[in-house]
C-alpha cells in the first residue's frame, strides 16, 4: 500500500525501475555469458539489446499518472533554491502580497458579515420600514401614531402584514426581577401583534402574539429573546405560561423567540403595544414607525405609492393632526439595519481592494526586475538544451511557490486582522462581531494574486523565447531589444502606484484633519470624568414612567440627589432628561421669542430640550456664561424660568434685545412664557459633530422625567457607580441603573467610528506609500542596471553626477506625476461620494491634495534618486571594462 502511494506520487518509482532494468541487463548478460562470451562482450550485448536506458526512463516517466508531480517537485526544489539565493527580493514580494491578501480578505469578511449576509428574516427584501418626513417643517423624521396602523392596513392591499414599533427603544426598558439575582434592566420593544409575522420569524418555544393579546385591558404577556431566556431565565423550557416580574408587574411568558432575532437592535423583550387607551386612540401620540411585509406576488412600488396616498389623505381627513407637507419615507429593512455603517464599510473595502491592487502591482514590478536579471541565466539554460516548455514551467513553478507562500501568510494575516478589527471597531456596527474569515473572498484574492504572480513570473520566459540565445550570451544580458517594452511596463506600475497612494493618502489625510477638528472642537462638556447612567423609574404599565406621578418623581430625584451629595467624596450630582451623546435620541421642542410672534411664520424652529436639576451645568462642565443656575426655589408655583444656549442668545441679541431676562415660549407649553435666567455655552448633545441650540428647564417646572443621573466624585468611576447603586437600593429595591459611562467615554464612543476609519485608512495609506516608494526605487535600479554601459561611458566622458541622476530619474518621475493626476481625480470622486465622512474640512481640499501630491512626489523622487545617484558614481566606471 505504501509503495503504491509512493509510486502514485512518483517518488520511488525511479528506484524500482532502475533495479528492474539492472536485473534485466544482468539476465541478458548472463544469457550471453552462457554462450561463451567474455564479460565485456556480454555487457555490451545486454546494453545494445536493452536500448537507451535514459529514454526508457523518460518514456516511463512521461506516461505515469502523476509524472508532473515529480517534475513540479523538481521545479519547486529549484524555485526554493532560487528564493534562498535572493531572500530579500522574494521575501519582500511575499510580504507585500500577503499583506494585500490579508487586509482585503479581512475587510471583505467584515463587509460580508455586516452587509451581505442575509438577516435572520426570511424574504428580507420584501420587508420595509415606514415613517414620514416633513421637510418644510424642518423635521427629517415624523413619527406615526397607533391609529395609523389601521389607515395603512385598510388601504394598502399589497402588504401581507403591517406592524408598529417605536422609533427608538429609549424609555421602554424593563427591569426584570427573577428573585434570585439583582434586578437587571433589559431593552424592550412594545410592538403590535403582527410584528413577528412581518419579520417572518416564529417563537422557538410557545406561541406568537395574537390580536387578543393586544386589547385594552388584556392580560400582560411577553415574548423573551433567546439570549434573555438563556442568561436571565436559566434556559428553562417550562417557562412558557409562567409569570415574570417586569417593572414590578406580572407578565405571562408566552414565547421564547428563535435565536438570533434581535430586532429592533438590542431588544430582549417584546410585549403588545395596543393595550393602553392613551396610545390606541390618539392620533397625537406619535412615537411609532411601521414595518410591513409585501405580499408574495405583490409589488413594493405599488405599495409605496399606496402608502404615500394614505398619508396624503390623512392630511385631508384629519387636518388638525397632519400637515399637508408630510411625505412617506420607506426604507428597506436591510438598509435600515446597517444604517450608516454601509458607507464606512464600502469605503474601507474599496481602500483594501486598492491596497490589494497596489500590492500586486508592486510584487509584479519586483518579480519583473528579478526576472529581467535572469535573462542571462535563461539564455544559458536554453543554450545548454533546456526546452522552452521546461523553462516556462520552471518560471511558472516559482510563481506558484510565491503565490502559495503569500496565500498562506495572507490567510494568517486575514485571521489576525479580523480579530483585531472586531475588537477595536466601534460597537454600533451591527453583526460585526459575527465576522469570520470568508473563504470565498480568500479564494478570490488568492486566485487573483496567483494569476498575476504567475503571469509576472512567466514574462521573462516569453521575452527569452523571442531573443536570440547567442546574442544574449554575447551581450552578457546587459541590454536587450525587449528592454524598452519592459521599461514601459515598469513605468506603468510606477504610475499606477502613484495613483493608488494618492487616493489612499488623500482620503486618510482628510480623515485625520476631520478627526483633529472633531476632538479639538469645544463640544461643551468639560468634565470628561463625570459619570453618567440611566436611572429612569420603572413602574408597571406600557409607558412605565407614567406609573409615577410627577410630584413623586420630583421628590424621588430630589431625595436621591440629596443623599448622593451627602456621600463623602462626591463633588456634585445632578439629573437630566437625556444625557449628552446618547445616540441620536433626544427631545426636540419648538420655541419662539416675543419679537417673533405674529411675524407670520407658520413653522416654528426647534431646539434640543433638556430637563435638568440644579447643579447640572457644574457637573457636566458646561459653562454658565451669564445669569444663574436653577435652584430648588424655581418651582411650579414660582415664575417659569429657562436657561438657553449661547446660540439662541445670539438670535435675541441680533433682534436687538438683551437675552438675560428676556422671554421664550416653548411648543410644549403653548401659552406660558418663561423668563430666561441664564445663558450657557453651546454644547453638542446629539453628536460631537453637530452643533445645535439647547433649551433647559428646571425639573420642578417640567412634566418630563430626569432619566439620567450625572455624578462627579473623588473616587474611581466603579466606586461612584456602586455608590449610586447602593443609594438607589436603599430607596427602592425594584429600581436599577444601566448604561454607565463617563462623559469622556460617551465622547470617545461618538467619535469611535471616525477614529476607526482614520486609523485603517492611515494604515492602508502607509502600506501604499511604502509600496510606491519601493516601486520607484526598483524601477530606477533596473533602469540603471540596464544602462550600466551607457552610464559608464557618459561618466567617462565627464558627465556630472547630478545631471546624470536627473536624466535617469526624470522619466520615472514623469510617470509618478501622471499617476498622481489620475489619483487626484480618483480622490476627488471618492470624497464627493463620501462627503459625510468628513468634518470641519472641505472634502475637495486643494491644499490637502497638493500636500499629499508633493509628499508622494518627494518620496518617489528620493526613492528613485538613491539608486540613480549611486549608479552615477565613479565606481561604475568599472562597468565599461567588464
Amino acid at each position: 500500500m505504501l509503495s503504491r502511494i509512493r509510486r502514485w506520487l512518483g517518488i520511488s518509482a525511479d528506484d524500482d525501475l532502475a533495479q528492474e532494468i539492472d536485473q534485466h541487463l544482468e539476465m541478458l548478460a548472463e544469457e550471453r555469458r552462457g554462450l561463451g562470451a567474455t564479460s565485456e562482450e556480454a555487457q555490451a550485448y545486454a546494453r545494445r539489446k536493452l536500448g537507451n536506458r535514459a529514454s526508457i526512463r523518460e518514456a516511463v516517466y512521461e506516461m505515469r499518472p502523476l509524472a508532473y508531480a515529480g517534475t513540479w517537485a523538481m521545479h519547486a526544489r529549484i524555485a526554493a533554491r532560487t528564493f534562498l539565493r535572493s531572500k530579500a527580493a522574494h521575501g519582500s514580494v511575499i510580504a507585500i502580497l500577503s499583506a494585500g491578501i490579508g487586509m482585503s480578505v479581512a475587510m471583505f469578511s467584515l463587509v460580508d458579515a455586516v452587509l451581505l449576509r442575509p438577516l435572520p428574516f426570511p424574504g428580507q427584501n420584501s420587508i420595509a420600514l415606514i415613517w414620514k418626513t416633513d421637510p418644510p417643517a424642518g423635521t427629517q423624521v415624523e413619527e406615526l401614531a397607533y391609529p395609523e396602523l389601521r389607515d395603512i392596513e385598510e388601504n394598502v392591499s399589497d402588504f401581507q402584514y403591517v406592524a408598529l414599533l417605536p422609533t427608538s427603544l429609549y424609555g421602554y426598558s424593563r427591569v426584570l426581577q427573577n428573585g434570585k439575582s439583582e434586578p437587571v434592566q433589559i431593552e424592550s420593544a412594545p410592538v403590535s401583534h403582527d410584528f413577528f409575522r412581518v419579520l417572518g420569524v416564529h417563537p422557538a418555544l410557545g406561541r406568537d402574539f395574537t390580536a387578543s393579546d393586544e386589547r385594552i385591558g388584556a392580560d400582560p404577556v411577553v415574548i423573551v429573546s433567546d439570549a434573555v431566556w438563556r442568561e436571565q431565565l436559566a434556559a428553562d423550557p417550562r417557562i412558557i405560561g409562567h409569570v415574570v416580574r417586569l417593572n414590578g408587574q406580572g407578565y405571562t411568558v408566552i414565547g421564547v423567540m428563535a435565536p438570533g432575532v434581535e430586532f429592533p437592535r438590542g431588544a430582549g423583550l417584546w410585549f403588545p403595544l395596543g393595550v393602553d387607551r392613551a396610545i390606541v386612540e390618539r392620533r397625537g401620540a406619535t412615537f411609532l414607525q411601521a414595518i410591513a411585509r409585501v405580499k408574495p406576488g405583490g409589488s413594493a412600488e405599488r405599495a409605496a405609492a399606496e402608502v404615500e396616498s394614505v398619508f396624503r389623505r390623512q392630511a385631508a381627513d384629519h387636518p388638525e393632526a397632519y400637515p399637508k407637507s408630510q411625505r412617506a419615507v420607506i426604507t428597506p429593512l436591510v438598509e435600515y439595519w446597517t444604517g450608516s455603517a454601509r458607507l464606512h464599510l464600502w469605503i474601507m473595502l474599496g481602500a483594501s481592494v486598492l491596497l490589494l491592487l497596489g500590492s500586486i502591482v508592486s510584487a509584479g514590478n519586483l518579480l519583473l526586475s528579478r526576472a529581467l536579471q535572469r535573462r542571462h541565466e535563461i539564455a544559458t539554460r536554453l543554450a545548454l538544451g533546456a526546452g522552452y516548455r521546461q523553462i516556462l514551467e520552471q518560471l511558472g513553478a516559482e510563481g506558484v511557490c510565491i503565490a502559495i507562500a503569500s496565500a498562506g501568510a495572507g490567510l494568517a494575516i486575514a485571521q489576525a486582522a479580523i480579530r483585531t478589527l472586531v475588537r477595536f471597531a466601534p460597537a454600533d456596527i451591527p453583526r460585526l462581531s459575527q465576522s469570520a474569515l470568508d473563504f470565498e473572498a480568500f479564494a478570490w484574492a488568492a486566485g487573483i494574486v496567483a494569476a498575476s504572480v504567475i503571469a509576472c513570473a512567466l514574462i521573462p520566459g516569453w521575452a527569452a523565447l523571442r531573443i536570440e540565445v547567442e546574442s544574449a550570451l554575447r551581450e552578457g544580458g546587459a541590454r536587450l531589444s525587449s528592454s524598452r517594452r519592459e521599461g514601459r511596463m515598469r513605468h506603468t506600475f510606477v504610475a499606477t502606484h502613484a495613483a493608488l497612494t494618492m487616493v489612499l493618502l488623500a482620503v486618510a489625510a482628510l480623515l485625520v484633519l476631520s478627526y483633529r477638528a472633531m476632538i479639538s472642537d469645544d463640544i461643551g462638556f468639560a468634565n470628561r470624568d463625570a459619570l453618567s447612567m440611566n436611572l429612569q423609574l420603572h413602574g408597571p404599565g406600557l409607558l412605565s414612567g407614567r406609573a409615577y406621578t410627577v410630584p413623586y418623581r420630583r421628590s424621588f430625584y430630589t431625595e436621591l440627589l440629596d443623599r448622593l451629595r451627602r456621600q463623602p467624596g462626591v463633588v456634585s450630582a445632578a439629573a437630566v432628561l437625556v444625557r449628552p451623546l446618547e445616540g441620536t435620541i433626544g427631545w426636540d421642542v419648538s420655541y419662539e421669542f416675543p419679537f417673533e410672534v405674529n411675524n407670520g411664520r407658520r413653522v416654528l424652529p426647534k431646539a434640543n430640550y433638556e430637563v435638568v436639576t440644579p447643579d447640572y451645568f457644574r457637573t457636566a462642565g458646561t459653562p454658565l456664561l451669564e445669569g444663574r443656575d436653577f435652584s430648588e426655589h424655581d418651582t411650579e408655583t414660582s415664575e417659569p424660568v429657562a436657561i438657553i444656549s449661547e446660540s439662541l442668545a445670539k438670535l435675541i441679541r441680533q433682534a436687538g434685545y438683551t437675552p438675560l431676562g428676556y422671554r421664550i415660549r416653548l411648543g410644549l407649553t403653548r401659552d406660558r412664557w418663561s423668563r430666561i435666567i441664564g445663558i450657557c455655552g453651546n454644547a453638542r448633545y446629539r453628536s460631537i459633530t453637530q452643533s445645535g441650540s439647547d433649551i433647559f428647564v428646571s425639573y420642578l417646572q417640567a412634566a418630563q422625567p430626569t432619566n439620567y443621573v450625572l455624578i462627579r466624585g473623588k473616587q474611581p468611576a466603579g466606586d461612584l457607580a456602586n455608590l449610586v447603586r447602593r443609594t438607589l437600593l436603599s430607596m427602592d429595591a425594584s429600581q436599577t441603573i444601566a448604561g454607565i459611562a463617563t462623559i469622556g467615554e460617551l465622547i470617545d464612543a461618538n467619535s469611535a467610528r471616525h477614529r476607526f476609519d482614520m486609523i485603517l485608512l492611515l494604515w492602508f495609506g502607509a502600506c501604499a506609500t511604502l509600496l510606491g516608494a519601493g516601486g520607484a526605487y526598483s524601477a530606477i535600479r533596473e533602469l540603471t542596471a540596464d544602462r550600466q554601459r551607457e552610464i559608464a561611458i557618459k561618466i567617462a566622458l565627464g558627465a556630472g553626477r547630478g545631471r546624470l541622476t536627473r536624466e535617469l530619474v526624470s522619466g520615472t518621475l514623469g510617470f509618478v506625476l501622471l499617476g498622481e493626476c489620475a489619483g487626484a481625480a480618483g480622490a476627488w470622486g471618492i470624497t464627493r461620494l463620501a462627503a459625510e465622512l468628513f468634518y470641519g474640512v472641505a472634502p475637495r481640499n486643494p491644499l490637502v491634495a497638493g500636500a499629499v501630491a508633493a509628499f508622494v512626489f518627494l518620496l518617489s523622487m528620493t526613492a528613485a534618486a538613491w539608486p540613480a545617484w549611486r549608479a552615477a558614481s565613479d565606481e561604475f566606471r568599472g562597468a565599461l571594462r567588464r
Binding site: 532494468i21 536493452l50 526508457i56 516511463v60 506516461m63
Partner: protein, 112 residues
C-alpha cells in the same frame, strides 16, 4: 532497427497484445516476456527490450497486469508480472480482435 532483412519491426500497438499473450501463459519478468516474443516469432521479431517497460507500466497503470518482486528460477530477484482478471478478459478480446484484423488485412492484401 529494421536494417536487417530477416527482422521485422513490431507493428505499432501490437506490443501490448503480445505482452498480454505472453502473460497468459503465466507470470513472467521483463526479460522472460521479451524472450517469449522473440522465441515464439522464431526470432523474426526483435524486441528492443527496454521498450517493454513503458508498455508494462502503462498496462500496470491500466489495471490489466499486476507486479511483484519475486525470486526467479535462477535465484535472482526480479519483478514478475501477472494478468489481473480484467487483463485476462482484455487478452481474450485482443486475441479475437487481432484474428479479425488479420483476416481482413489478408483479404485486402491478396492479389486481385
Amino acid at each position: 532497427m529494421a536494417g536487417q532483412s530477416k527482422e521485422v519491426e513490431i507493428l505499432q500497438g501490437t506490443l501490448k497484445m503480445m505482452i498480454l499473450q505472453a502473460l497468459h501463459q503465466g507470470p513472467a519478468n521483463g526479460y522472460e516476456i521479451a524472450k517469449y516474443i522473440e522465441r515464439r516469432s522464431d526470432e523474426l521479431l526483435q524486441v528492443e527490450h527496454g521498450s517493454l517497460y513503458p508498455a508494462l507500466r502503462r498496462l500496470e497503470a491500466g489495471g490489466l497486469i499486476k507486479a511483484e518482486w519475486r525470486t526467479s528460477l535462477t535465484n535472482r530477484r526480479a519483478r514478475y508480472y501477472a494478468l489481473t482478471r480484467t487483463g485476462r478478459r482484455e487478452a481474450a478480446e485482443e486475441h479475437s480482435r487481432w484474428k479479425l484484423l488479420v483476416r481482413a488485412i489478408t483479404r485486402v492484401m491478396r492479389p486481385a
